[in-house]
């Protein structure tokens, strides 16, 4: 099977720094076009529905408050969920990290003697790199979300949390399906492509006895769980098999059933620009005669608990994975998701991934933003993403500044120098004069600087810089005050 030449790297431990990873994407006109089109469509729909919702701000407030409250009492709610789910016939497992989660799931699959599993899209499973672990154990995981199927058959990676294949267009999909499903005469209209997927997957739904899913919500009050979807593959996987294994980050819990009245209203509008997504399923443990008779929930920590201590970090965990932030992000619009080198792309990825990695990796992600704040405006649970980005930048810098390689880094040097200069007006004035002198040789006859060396060259690559004026504002003011005094 021919993999794409540049298989996107989604593991933050080995992914290239963001500025580097963005380069090939910026030169991929098709991808940029696809990303712009997809995000425009969702945003337009989302904005229209939000404008029509007279209590949108109140819903956002409630959603944010419910999520914040839940995190402040996370242990209690998780224990309550575990108790009620278990009483209803489910089995709850706790995984401290990705490795343990994979081990638990593999163990369960061995008990099932599963050689294949059908999967509902779950980014959490990508986070723990489950599919490769399954493959190594000789278990074939079949993705059943259309987008995930496209990516799996195309040997590609997701680039968006809600519309993972938005970077792929119809003729690319046609090519993948024709090749992998053996359908040479397949047309490239979305209708035909979807029909092909429907037929291909139906056989699997009816025959594979074990399913793996993620979770949208865990309800502490009842021990119930909820999956929100559009295609129906979720319903297939949570209804037909004998065994269902649900992987859920510990932050997915909600206090009560009633809290869904808020979350469901904000989720669909934010994620797909609909008043409600086509199918939402809710079930509690095991119900004799209806659905899987074995139900396991694997609760995943993997770095989340370390984010609870400070409110500025804890707010990251309020995320309900709607994708609205990346739909509106002007950076994401130009780069798509792969440049982030992480399962979670866009603004939320830029704050979540570094924290999950305990800042040992993905250190360039907090800088992959112009701090425009558009994400915060649309976040249905009011995560102040710019605030978290700035906080993480400070943490990354503090880690780095003592290291040898940063000592001569132009930006680190420049910042140290600037701070010393800003501390004293005399020094500042002197620095202004020195800058004027230093930049004089680079200033052309038109009074503009067209090319600078080093870091400055990153500016002049696409922008000129007007040469420093002969007189600063304060020099002008000083002179004017003198003249007035006379």
């Amino acid at each position: 099977m021919n993999a794409p030449v540049n298989h996107p790297v989604m593991d933050p431990r080995v992914a290239a720094p963001f500025p580097e990873a963005a380069l090939p994407v910026l030169r991929n006109a098709q991808l940029r076009k696809n990303v712009a089109h997809a995000t425009d469509v969702i945003q337009t729909k989302r904005n229209k529905l939000v404008a029509e919702k007279s209590d949108w701000l109140e819903l956002r407030d409630a959603a944010s408050a419910i999520r914040a409250h839940t995190l402040e009492h996370l242990g209690e709610y998780l224990e309550q969920f575990e108790e009620r789910c278990t009483a209803a016939g489910g089995v709850v497992h706790w995984a401290a990290d990705a490795e343990e989660a994979c081990a638990i799931i593999l163990n369960l699959l061995r008990e099932e003697q599963a050689s294949e599993v059908i999967k509902i899209k779950t980014m959490t499973s990508a986070e723990i790199q489950l599919n490769p672990a399954l493959e190594r154990a000789g278990i074939h995981a079949i993705e059943t979300d259309l987008a995930e199927l496209i990516l799996q058959l195309g040997d590609d990676e997701p680039s968006h949390v809600v519309v993972p294949a938005l970077h792929v267009n119809r003729s690319q999909v046609r090519e993948i399906f024709a090749r992998r499903m053996g359908l040479e005469d397949l047309k490239d209209d979305p209708q035909a492509l979807t029909a092909a997927a429907r037929t291909y997957l139906r056989k699997k739904f009816l025959s594979v006895p074990t399913a793996i899913s993620g979770a949208n919500y865990l309800i502490a009050e009842t021990g119930g769980v909820s999956i929100v979807e559009s295609e129906g593959n979720g319903r297939m996987c949570l209804t037909l098999p004998r065994t269902m294994i649900m992987l859920a980050g510990i932050e997915k819990v909600l206090p009560r059933f009633r809290d869904l009245e808020v979350m469901l209203q904000v989720l669909a509008r934010s994620a797909t620009g609909e008043r409600m997504n086509p199918y939402t399923s809710l079930w509690t443990g095991v119900t004799p005669g209806d659905g899987p008779q074995r139900f396991h929930v694997v609760l995943l920590d993997n770095g989340r608990s370390a984010m609870l201590k400070r409110e500025v970090e804890r707010q990251t965990l309020k995320c309900i994975r709607c994708g609205a932030c990346m739909n509106t992000c002007p950076v994401y619009r130009q780069t798509g998701g792969h440049a982030y080198g992480s399962v979670y792309p866009g603004p939320i990825g830029a704050i979540l991934t570094p924290q999950l990695m305990k800042l040992e990796h993905a250190q360039t992600l907090p800088y992959a933003s112009s701090l425009c704040g558009a994400c915060y405006d649309v976040c249905p649970v009011k995560i102040n993403i710019p605030e978290v980005l700035i906080e993480l930048r400070a943490q990354v810098t503090d880690r780095e500044r003592e290291s040898e390689r940063r000592f001569f880094d132009p930006i680190y040097l420049g910042m140290r120098m600037a701070n010393s200069v800003f501390a004293n007006a005399g020094r500042f004035k002197a620095a202004q004069r020195m800058a004027r002198i230093a930049l004089q040789p680079f200033t052309g006859k038109d009074g503009w600087i067209h090319k600078l060396p080093g870091t400055g060259g990153r500016w002049t690559m696409t922008r000129d810089l007007r040469g420093l004026p002969d007189q600063t504002f304060r020099e002008w003011w000083e002179k004017r005050e003198k003249e007035r005094a006379q």
């Binding site: 963005a22 112009s370 700035i390 007006a425 067209h450 922008r463 004026p469 020099e475 003011w477």
Partner: protein, 254 residues
């Protein structure tokens, strides 16, 4: 001369060094409106560059310096939304962390008196027609800090609407970031440039002679690219438009 009130001008480190004409325009404009302008020479920088790049430790002393310097000012006017946003959004946290109660009280009392230029004109002076004359086609770019942190809303438009001779062209995708983002423009120069190109597409299609904004940061990014491409369009800070009159047109327009 009878002044309506006195304000202290915080020119900002980059305007001072790179765009002194904006500062001169602010002074001319405010004095024309009967405002006495004071300039405290001890001023340097608000600390935004350091805070936003991760050098948070350095921002503490800059914040403290700012508060101490202006504690007794009647009002502080700043022709830069991003600097005002720094003071409103980040100073509270920084000052609180310093743990000095007296300083915090000083800051809390000062904060309502720190205003971006258009806020000062409209909210404090109650003026929308500043008596300006600028007979050119102009498009307005909303900087992200002004839009989302300061919620400037329609203030800039109310001011521009009253400038005689000015032909205002609406900018498509007004709320989309130009890609400057401070050090982002250099650390992520390629992505920043991609965003810039997309923004300029909208700016150029207005066929305006000038692109204006309340922040020279965005304008040096937009203007720098326009200049590199030998475009006819130029950038100009809104203070310079508002200061412009028949008798005294904006600098550099001759």
């Amino acid at each position: 001369m009878g002044y309506v009130m006195q304000v202290s001008l915080f020119i900002t480190c980059y305007n001072d060094t790179l765009f002194p004409e904006t500062g001169r325009a602010v002074v001319r404009l405010l004095e024309r409106l009967g405002v006495e302008v004071q300039f405290r020479p001890a001023q340097t920088c608000c600390g935004q560059m350091h805070a936003n790049t991760g050098f948070r430790g350095e921002a503490f002393s800059q914040a403290k310096r700012f508060v101490k310097l202006y504690a007794d000012a009647e009002a502080v006017v700043i022709p830069s939304s991003s600097c005002v946003a720094m003071i409103r959004d980040q100073y509270p946290g920084l000052i609180a962390e310093l743990g000095n109660d007296a300083l915090r009280r000083e800051f809390d009392a000062l904060l309502p008196r720190v205003l971006e230029l258009s806020e000062f004109l409209i909210d404090k002076l109650g003026v929308e027609d500043v008596g300006a004359y600028f007979p050119h086609r102009v498009t307005y770019h909303a900087s992200c800090h002004g839009l989302r942190s300061l919620h400037l809303g329609d203030r800039p438009f109310r001011l521009l609407k009253n400038v005689r001779g000015l032909d205002l062209a609406n900018l498509d995708n007004l709320d989309r970031c130009c890609g400057f983002g401070g050090t982002f423009s250099v650390k992520n120069a390629e992505v920043s440039s991609a965003m810039l190109t997309a923004k300029l597409q909208d700016v150029r299609s207005t066929r305006a002679e000038f692109c204006t904004a309340l922040d020279n940061s965005c304008l040096m990014h937009l203007g720098g690219a326009l200049h590199k491409e030998f475009a006819a369009m130029r950038t100009i800070h809104m203070a310079e438009i508002l200061a412009s009159t028949e008798a005294s047109p904006a600098e550099g327009l001759a």
